[in-house]
């Protein structure tokens, strides 16, 4: 009998680990319901369990992808899928410029290319909701948005130049075990253009009465609004074929519950 219980427990344990077995280079992020700051409708959204890349995709990883998928190389990519800046920091199809670091985040990459990269790995780009959910954690809490110091740090990064030249993993990981969501580069999201920002931010405020009320009633959260505003502004300014110096990406994978 004792033996049986033990076996049963063992099986349970195996099942448990299997269910949460993590893909290489990714961490598990437990989904939840939360209110994004400035989402499609600024109401509660539900994020399901998913896994997220620990680091943004690096130049080295992207180089390997290019070797296997020549059609995404600099000289082969379709004009429809990129602009002139695509891989502007590469000398040729498979050679980075000497000033660049293989361990830096891959940038100058269009949304199409980022999406294709993730799909090749059996993953996909994170949605805005998923990205914002993972990125609201600091080193100790899952939702650090109310901490002024957290938001100040993020705002300070938005002002610091040339951070895309840094290598990955220099900042402390957050409570999920994810590095560099803040402090290195902007990151592509699957539905980056679903937030309708007209470029006239004051008008956006008027248009979205939820947001307006939200920001007016939550006085203490001015700072966190500002940090998020800037992310939504950069997303709003993008088109899928843009490739930019300060814009990289990472992938996620949904987890079956």
């Amino acid at each position: 009998m004792k033996n049986l219980t033990f076996r049963f427990l063992l099986v349970l344990l195996v099942v448990q680990t299997l269910a949460h077995s993590q893909s290489k280079g990714m961490v598990f992020i437990e989904g939840s319901r939360y209110i994004p700051l400035y989402g499609r409708d600024s109401t509660v959204v539900e994020v399901k369990n998913f896994e997220m890349d620990i680091y943004p995709v690096t130049n080295l990883e992207y180089l390997n992808f290019l070797k296997e998928n020549p059609k995404w190389q600099k000289s082969n990519i379709l004009k429809l899928f990129s602009d002139k800046s695509y891989l502007a920091n590469w000398n040729s199809n498979l050679e980075l410029k000497p000033t660049e670091n293989l361990n830096s985040p891959a940038t100058y990459i269009s949304w199409y290319a980022a999406k294709a990269y993730c799909e090749c790995q059996g993953k996909r780009l994170p949605t805005v909701d998923e990205w914002e959910y993972a990125a609201m954690a600091d080193e100790t809490t899952r939702d650090a948005r109310v901490k002024p110091s957290f938001n100040k740090k993020i705002l300070a990064w938005y002002e610091a130049p040339h951070s895309n030249e840094d290598t990955i993993g220099l900042h402390p990981k957050n409570v999920w075990g994810v590095y560099d969501l803040h402090g290195l580069v902007w990151e592509w999201t699957l539905d980056f253009n679903s937030v309708l920002i007209t470029g006239e931010s004051r008008k956006d405020v008027d248009k979205d009465s939820n947001l307006f009320c939200g920001s007016a009633s939550l006085n203490a959260t001015d700072l966190m609004n500002y940090a998020a505003f800037m992310r939504y502004a950069i997303r709003g300014s993008l088109k899928a074929k843009y490739a930019m110096k300060n814009l990289g990406f990472r992938c996620v994978k949904p987890v079956k519950n």
Partner: protein, 482 residues
């Protein structure tokens, strides 16, 4: 048609023909939107305090403006760095000069190194967002839109990307002038000045690269209020200049984001002010109010030589936060208009005594002590320029009969402890320096022991002095001996 009516219309017709004959050269348009444009022209853009050539009598044109956005580090004041976001690489941004009826084709270029998207809202634009909606541009891209200048006046432009306040607080503003048909009346000198308030993590004067402080900005507690983006942009060698008898026109804007400017030139009266940059002209004005996101044009004839100080007359901003500029006027004195000092008598109704600055008695020690002689000299120079320069002057030469020299000073070199004591506690009464007698007041200085050591080391190792090195310990010894 009845005959009388016919006669009337005939008269009317002939009058019309006659007037149109007279008007053949200068046709006037009731509606500025109807002014036709001829030919293209690349707009001349200038960085402050300069302005482009006046439009004069030129016809309305298609005017091409290319403006590049740069996020770049600059110096707020000696030793204090700041990450500015700029239109055209300067704060305020490049001056744009147009005339009414121009069709402006505006190219907004966001440099690839920049981190953020930006746009431009020009108050001279009639259209949604003042162009903001059409100019929202990601780093590494260029947006083009065009507009017709319908109303003459002096207008502010600024970035309107979320968070708007932060983009403005970091320096994203400038002026665009729309001159009336035929241009503004000619003057001898024209200058471009813009006030702005800055909010830094560290207090005023704290060294190093200072990040923007959102909370202070929300509270509107500015650490710096400056003309043209930094402390001293219009003082010393950067001062504006004019000659006696010239008429000066100032284009003054206020970028904000938070504060309203009470613009005043000490020792001058504005002959004419285009109130709020519009058509209304007020005459004989001492101080004119410039709202955040607003501008004014003022003209005055300079009658006597001297240095005229430009200030925001919310006066602590001028003397403690940087809102101070200079206009140096050269030429013949006119004793009838201004005599200069006639006599200097002693007047001491309350008895002599050392004046104290209001103080909390708490001087926060500099958080970065100097590690070497070179650093002591560097930090000392910064402290000197912030604290001592106003009286003892840039080369330690002082001002004759008022402030004793520090250069080759026998009084200074004779006794280092006495010098430390004077910086710590202030000094009043008669002293003799290099054979000259001085009788004035120096207040005690709000400097930490480290800073006093640095500034005195700088003074002792400059301008032919005895090359002593003053340490914090020496300062503390004098401090504690009292």
């Amino acid at each position: 048609m009845r005959p009388s009516n016919l006669l009337l219309s005939l008269t009317f017709l002939s009058t019309l023909l006659l007037t149109s004959c007279f008007k053949s050269k200068e046709q006037e348009y009731e509606n500025t939107a109807d002014i036709p444009v001829s030919r293209e022209m690349i707009a001349e853009l200038t960085s402050p305090p300069n302005v482009p050539t006046p439009v004069g009598r030129r016809k309305a044109k298609k005017l091409i403006v290319k403006m590049e956005i740069l996020e770049k580090e600059g110096e707020m004041t000696d030793g204090v760095k700041y990450m500015y976001w700029t239109f055209g690489g300067t704060v305020p941004g490049s001056f744009i000069r147009t005339r009414v009826g121009d069709e402006v084709e505006f190219h907004l270029q966001n440099h690839p190194d920049n981190k953020l998207p930006h746009n431009i809202d020009m108050h001279a634009v009639t259209g949604p967002g003042g162009g903001a909606e059409s100019s929202f541009v990601a780093p590494g891209h260029e947006k083009t839109f065009s507009f017709k200048t319908l109303n003459p006046g002096l207008y502010v432009y600024h970035c309107a990307t979320a968070p708007v306040g932060m983009h403005i607080a970091n320096g994203m503003y400038g002026l665009i002038l729309v001159e009336p048909e035929g241009g503004l009346p000619p003057v001898d000198k024209e200058y471009y000045i813009m006030q702005g308030d800055f909010y830094t993590k560290g207090a005023n004067g704290e060294r190093g690269l200072q990040p923007f402080d959102m909370q202070k900005a929300v509270d509107e507690k500015a650490d710096y209020v400056v003309f043209n983006g930094k402390v001293g942009a219009l003082t010393g060698d950067n001062a504006l200049t004019a000659k006696v008898g010239e008429t000066v026109r100032l284009f003054v804007g206020n970028g904000g984001p938070g504060l309203v400017s009470s613009f005043h030139v000490i020792g001058e009266i504005f002959d004419r002010v285009h109130v709020e940059g519009g058509d209304l002209i007020n005459e004989n004005v001492q101080t004119t109010l410039i709202p955040a996101g607003g501008a004014a044009m003022m003209e005055f004839k300079v009658e006597v030589p001297g240095t005229f100080i430009l200030v925001d007359h919310s006066i602590f901003r001028a003397f403690n936060k940087g809102a101070l500029g200079m206009l140096k006027v050269e030429g013949e004195k006119n004793k009838t208009l201004y005599s200069g000092e006639i006599r200097d008598d002693i007047y001491l109704p309350e008895g002599p005594g050392i004046q104290n600055m209001p103080t909390t008695d708490e001087i926060i020690a500099s958080e970065i002590p100097a590690k070497s002689f070179e650093e002591q000299m560097e930090f000392g120079k910064q402290a000197y320029m912030q604290t001592c320069f106003a009286c003892h002057q840039g080369e330690g030469q002082g001002i004759p009969h008022a402030f004793p020299p520090l250069a080759k000073s026998d009084y200074l070199n004779a006794d280092v402890d006495r010098a430390i004591g004077i910086v710590l506690h202030g000094k009043t009464g008669e002293i003799t320096v290099n054979g000259e007698t001085y009788n004035s007041v120096m207040t005690r200085q709000m400097l930490s022991s480290d800073e006093i050591a640095n500034v005195l080391t700088y003074v002792y190792n400059s301008w032919g002095n005895s090359k002593k090195v003053v340490t914090k310990e020496m300062v503390d010894k004098v401090k504690n001996s009292k």
